[in-house]
Amino acid sequence: MLTNLTDERLVELSVSSDSEAFGEIVRRWERKIFALCFGMLGREDEARDAAQETFIAAYRNLSNFRGEAKVSSWLHRIAVNQCLTVKRRAKTRSEEFFDDESGGDEKVFVAPANRSPARTTEQIERLTLVRQAVGSLPTDLRQVVVMKEFEEMTFQEISDTLELPLSTVKSRLYTALRQLRMKLERLPMEIS
C-alpha cells in the first residue's frame, strides 16, 4: 500500500506520526544515500554512519519539510551536509594524531579495512589513488560524479535533485572528469 505512494505523501504521513511511512522512505533511499555517502567519503564505516545520521536528521526535521523541494533533493542535501560534517570531524581527529605537513583531505581517504585479500597490490594502490582523487575534488563537482556513478542517476534526475540547469550538471561532470584524469595521470609517478 505504502509502496504506491509518492515520496511527498509519505512525508506527510510521517509528519502525522506514521512511522511505517518513514520506514518506506528509508527503504527507497537507503542504498542511494549510502552510495552517495560512500562516494563522498570513500570509507565504508564513515559512509554507513553518515547514511544513518542522514535519515535520523531527516526524521527529526520532518516538520521543516515544506514540500517546496522534492524529497530526493531534501535527502541529498542532508546527506551531503552529513558527509561534510564527518569529513571535518575526521580531519580534526587525524590532525590530533598526525603531523600537519601532508595534505589534509587525503588522510580521510584511506583504504577500507575489509578489502579482499585476493586483490593485487597494484589494484589496491590504484583504488587508493582514485579515492584520493575523487576526495580532492571540490564538493559540487564530487557530488555530481558520485550521483552519476554511484547512484546511477540520469542527468535529468541530477538536475531535478540539485535544482540546477541540465547544462550546468553536464558541464560540472565534464569538469570533474577532466580534473580526475589530470590527478590520475600525475599520481602514479608519486607512488612508484
Binding site: R126, E149, Y174, L177, R181
Partner: protein, 228 residues
Amino acid sequence: MKDVNCKNSNEIVPYMYGELATSAATEFETHLLECQACTDEFAALSAARYEVYDWKKLEFDPLASPAIRIPVGEVGEVSWIEKLRASFAGSWVMPAAAFAGLALIAVLLAIVVSSRNTGSDVVQRNANAPVNMPANTRKADQGAVATPTETETGVDTSAPAHSVPKPAVVRDSSRRDVRPQPAIAPRRTTPRSTTAQTPTVPRLNEFAEEKDDSLRLAELFEDIDTSE
C-alpha cells in the same frame, strides 16, 4: 590536457553515458571519426570514468546496505501544530468547515460588540467632553476670557481701551464648542483678576494678523450688542 576547441565537445559526456538521442548519437559518432581533439578528449574522460566505475564495482557494490535504525520513540517528537497541519493536508472539507465556524463566531462577536456600543455611546461622549477641549482655547481663556457673562456678550469692560485684542479674539469655532461648559468657568476668574490688576498685554497679541479674521466679526457682534 588541453582545452578542446570544438563546438561538439559538450556532447562527449552525454554520449559517454548513453544519454544522447539516437540521431544525435549517430551524428556525434560521425563527428568523432573526423575530429581528433574530440576523440582524444573522449578517451581521456572515459579513462577517468572507468577508474571511478571500477572503484565503485570493487568496493561499493559488494557492500550490504546499512541497517538504518530510527529511534522513533526518542526522536521526531511532532508538535501539535504539525499534527494539526497534517490532519488537514489530505482533504479540503475539514479546513472549509473550520473556516466557516470561525467566520460565524466572528460575525456573532461583531453583532454583540456593536449592540453594546450603541447603548453607551451618548454617555461616553458627554463624559469625555471637557477632556477634549483644545489646548489653544484653554491657554487663551486663562489670559483673556473672564466670566460666563462676558462670554455671552463678548464685551470685556476691564480691558484697556487701546488694547486691540479683545476677549472675543479667541472666540473662534473651537471656542464656541466649549462655551456652554460650566466646569471651565471657575478657572477663568483667577487669571482675569490678575489681568485687571496688572495691565500686562495678553498673549493673544502674539497672533498673526491673518489669523484675526474673527476680530472684525467680533467687533460686529459687539456693535450689535451695544446698539441693542
